[in-house]
Symmetry: D2
């Protein structure tokens, strides 16, 4: 940290500041400017977090240097972390292949889940999402099918081979959800639910950590740090839109978060265009933008009949719309050096490119 004194701070005032810093065990470097004196603090900066420097007489500014995250930082691991999801080898997030996770907002029953899983797999999704426990703004809204949904997800995984991603809301449910799911999702509202993060950190399941509604990028990385600090290194980050004054979309997708995160951390970065958009017609353009900006994966809501969905119907894609999106995604991914697996029997990317171009 760097302390900037106010104009005209006297020698004794400066000496008192220095003494305060040295008392917590740091060394100082004092540099006298024309108007202000600058006091650099050298040593373990965590000691200064509680030093309350702004309360000292003669302190005008306290400037932080460095980053508060450690295990999540590029300095800790310069090569990208690859997160393997599911038991079978193959689905790896953070490598050259761009991973699409798709499925319904909520698991609403066996048939709709099977049907959706088969459809998204056919279009190229590599994992299935589906909510069992739903965080809802209203206590009167559908709260998810709970354990029954977890069992259905496991059943569909057996059938399709798709690993399963589902949200956990409560530290008391981590063990239960981990018994069924391949990836534990932490929702935006729980990004700073530290009890939950710590519990998940003690699990060894991969984690999909969504950015909070108004969390900074630094706070997202500090939330990841809670999981990493408990020993769970399999953390994926997910940008899903932030809250701003603009109301034409459900949230404002912070597309720049992708390259900023890629610079700051070794963890994979996914994007959820569905929650950012809040409207089905905007999901594909946001998905294309995310891919072009360097995302490692997408999280997309798909439903057999969005007009009847129990939650998030406005933003869920139909199977046909998802398939269209995936065809376009494959071409855009190719343009930025990434791949998206083509379903067996599908046309090659270059052929699709030609088609896509012609259709626009």
């Amino acid at each position: 940290m760097i302390i900037v004194t106010s104009i005209g701070a006297t020698d004794s005032v400066i000496a008192h500041i220095v003494e305060h810093v040295e008392r917590v065990g740091l060394r100082v470097n004092v540099s006298r400017g024309e108007q202000r004196t600058i006091i650099g603090c050298i040593g373990d900066h965590d000691k200064l977090i509680a030093a309350n420097l702004m309360r000292l007489e003669g302190v005008e500014q306290v400037l932080k240097i460095g980053k508060p995250y450690k295990l999540a930082s590029r300095a800790f691991a310069s090569s990208p972390t690859h997160v393997s999801i599911g038991d079978a080898a193959g689905t790896v997030v953070g490598a050259r292949e761009l991973i699409v996770i798709a499925g319904p907002c909520s698991v609403e029953g066996r048939d709709m889940l099977h049907e959706t899983a088969r459809a998204v797999k056919q279009s190229g999704a590599r994992a299935l999402r589906g909510g069992a426990f739903k965080p809802r703004s209203s206590p009167y809204a559908f709260q998810g099918m709970g354990r029954e949904a977890l069992e259905l997800l496991a059943e569909v995984r057996s059938e399709t081979g798709l690993p399963v991603v589902t949200e956990v809301l409560d530290p008391r449910q981590v063990e239960l959800v981990a018994d069924f799911a391949d990836v534990l999702q932490v929702g935006a509202r729980n990004m700073q639910n530290f009890a939950l993060l710590s519990e998940i950190g003690r699990s060894r399941k991969p984690v999909l950590l969504k950015r909070g509604l108004s969390a900074t990028i630094t706070e997202l990385l500090m939330a990841a740090e809670y999981v990493l600090a408990e020993g769970n290194t399999q953390v994926m980050l997910c940008e899903r839109g932030i809250r701003t004054y603009e109301t034409s979309t459900r949230n404002t997708l912070d597309i720049a978060a992708i390259p900023v995160l890629k610079r700051e951390t070794h963890l994979p970065v996914l994007v959820d265009p569905s929650h950012a958009a809040g409207q089905a017609s905007l999901v594909a353009p946001l998905a294309m933008a995310a891919i072009a900006a360097g995302a490692d994966g997408l999280l997309v809501e798909v439903h057999p009949d969005p007009t009847c969905a129990q939650s998030d119907g406005d933003q869920s894609l139909t199977f046909a719309a998802f398939d269209d999106m995936m065809r376009q995604a494959r071409v855009v991914a190719g343009a930025v050096g990434r791949t998206i697996v083509a379903p067996s029997g599908a046309a090659t990317p270059s052929a699709i490119a030609a088609t896509a171009t012609a259709e626009v």
Copy 2:
């Protein structure tokens, strides 16, 4: 809900929308305008939450009418809820007396807690706050003294008679914290931790529910609804500043939230000027504003030596600054028809008013 069709929606398109609404059990009133048709939906609107009307062909807008909160609304209880805190009669939030809750951010030890409790009581505080479990952005920061802090709080309550307010972070700790505390505080980061809210709703301890960092007023009331729906009716709301682009304060105190909440709900409304300000020198002006705008109480951080506080030292008041604030608060409260208890032997409000005026 009201559905507005797009310009030129045909009769068959409109008929299809009507059919969709009627299928979920509502009646409709169709009004044909010059350009658009308006379809009013009559009946239990919760049924429409999952109706995904925006996905229907020919729907341009879906307008919500009414309020989503029920138990928290003025329609449910038109007279203000009074929340009694502590076993002894006397401390009632929501009545004419304005209640000030003060104390350290974190309980850091026996001596500092006793000293602070005595000081804030002497200045007119009616309850003691103090963190036992601390939600911290960094896993490496001080996380609170936990159970030991709860025991110290109970000990100090015995000595001073001040009821105790402390935060609970984890649904697994609700029972433990309720054994010691008089008020269960839900912090801003947990405002939409629905597992925690439901668990607290099953307790019968009064609840102090802080507004989330970027929660709307409606979302705050819906969070209260989670607690109320479980049967715990003793809920106090707390405005503590929201996240905006402005960085000159820690948060932006949404002062208008006070009269808006007083209009919308029967629950008492408190204000935490300390977290809004983030700087000790701004706490008193924000506290005065809150009182003048109609707050039922204040939550203020006070520490024997803020330069040595383990958390929130920048915004904690010294005993002397808190005492000054309380003297001024008593006068401003009087100006808006509220009272703040004067410590025994204190000057009467009118005498203080004269002094305050002379000093400015």
Copy 3:
């Protein structure tokens, strides 16, 4: 400015940074920490604004020290600026008297303006506001009566003695508006209209500068600096709410801006509760909060019949509501050591205080 190098920056990289800084004419102080080197830049910092330090190899952070405003700062003038408005002595903004400026959003005609002026004067207003040129989001909305409104304002001033405050939108109109008005108002949308600010700076009329919709406090002070730098020292600042995600009010009144501005600048600080609230019922509580937080004055919209107002009818007070607000304002002002002039024949503040208290 302070430059923080990245971890592992080599000697030659650091030497290159130092050379770059010295080339623009500053001296440096280099302090080597355990991981990073800190380079303090000493001299005229304006030279560094264009130094693009982040582009240099090995630079991780560039930290600004000090404040960009000069003439507006407390360092330039430690005692408060008093702004006299109107030719007749007496109306001074920034002194112990709290000045209330009231009137219609737009001047809509002679009768309504005369009637409003008389009513607000009777209730204690010290100046009259009224729009002649209106900035409207829609080109199809009422744009104000223009020059005719200016003439009406001058006419009403002659009759009532109230100085006149009106907005100027266009640098080409500054001279015209200054011919009629006592105070030139710069609206929120024009806070960074630098051509307008400079033109107004060349006038010698007092200026009421409103904070932009999403302007920081620093940007507001820099906008004032544009006016001050042209030689016009009679600048009043006005907080009127900022844009946030919250939609229950038209804007979010940043109540903390009052004490922050009082700390940073010698210029008077007014508050416009009408535009912050957007609803008449919230104007009085916000006005009380502003007074309690230390505002030097208020700007309030009043209309003979708000249901028929051409603009801002939702937030305009009736004469009766304004009179009620002023009675309460007088008491709250007294509680914080300020005065609001009582109309002749009015009860004394202490008597009103008793009444107000009884009524709440």
Copy 4:
């Protein structure tokens, strides 16, 4: 507009509301629900803008239907507007070719401008940007070279054939700037400078209208409406990032604004990744995202030596970085069915695609 009454509004209250609406010349359709009555207003809704319905007794909500923009809307012109820039045929914004406008933030001299123009043209830019009059937060910062810069821009146009885009700040300068420039740029700070918009609307030069720092998409379209209403139909919109709480970028690029605007308006949509990013290293990823999301063009800052730029050096690209960006842009554009002109002698897109892929 639709009026929703409060619960329990009596017949006479409803009759009074209806009477108020009918008095301004609209017809009503009254629909009585179980709790609330809904009053649809039929006719010219502009009449209701000033109807102040919220002030009427018994009104709980006023819901707007339809869009306030007319000339800018898809309803007015369903096919996309093509804006031709420059005298020579060829540069058309809004068609299949994606147009890149590049150049320095400020014109700083003849040599740097010529050099930059040649470089960006060589890499595929189709127009030259360069500031002559600069809006700066500080009155002490470089304000641009003014008229001399305009002359240099015209000179470089003659040499390179690139049309010239430059900002106009002041309604008094519109004629001067229009004499030299091919496109009149309105900066973010002036998006609601209605005097300037109207003056530009009376010009017949194409306009590049940037979104204000915290303008909604609707407000951006209403600003365009000011220009269109004066008869200038050659308007291009530009998303350049909005102000949010996130500080890791200069602004938050609202990438969803692209598809939302494409749905709402027939006007072309450009993106300025430089101002959104604020850092050169983020410009290319944001540019790719913008292309993938459907932008019609880009506005990019390029400087011969960003470390010496007089303004925006942190975010300006070097010639080499711009050339890299353009190579990648060409491939991504191809993936979404758009083209970017290749400089003569350049490799074909498909060949570049292969290279790009290999390099990632």
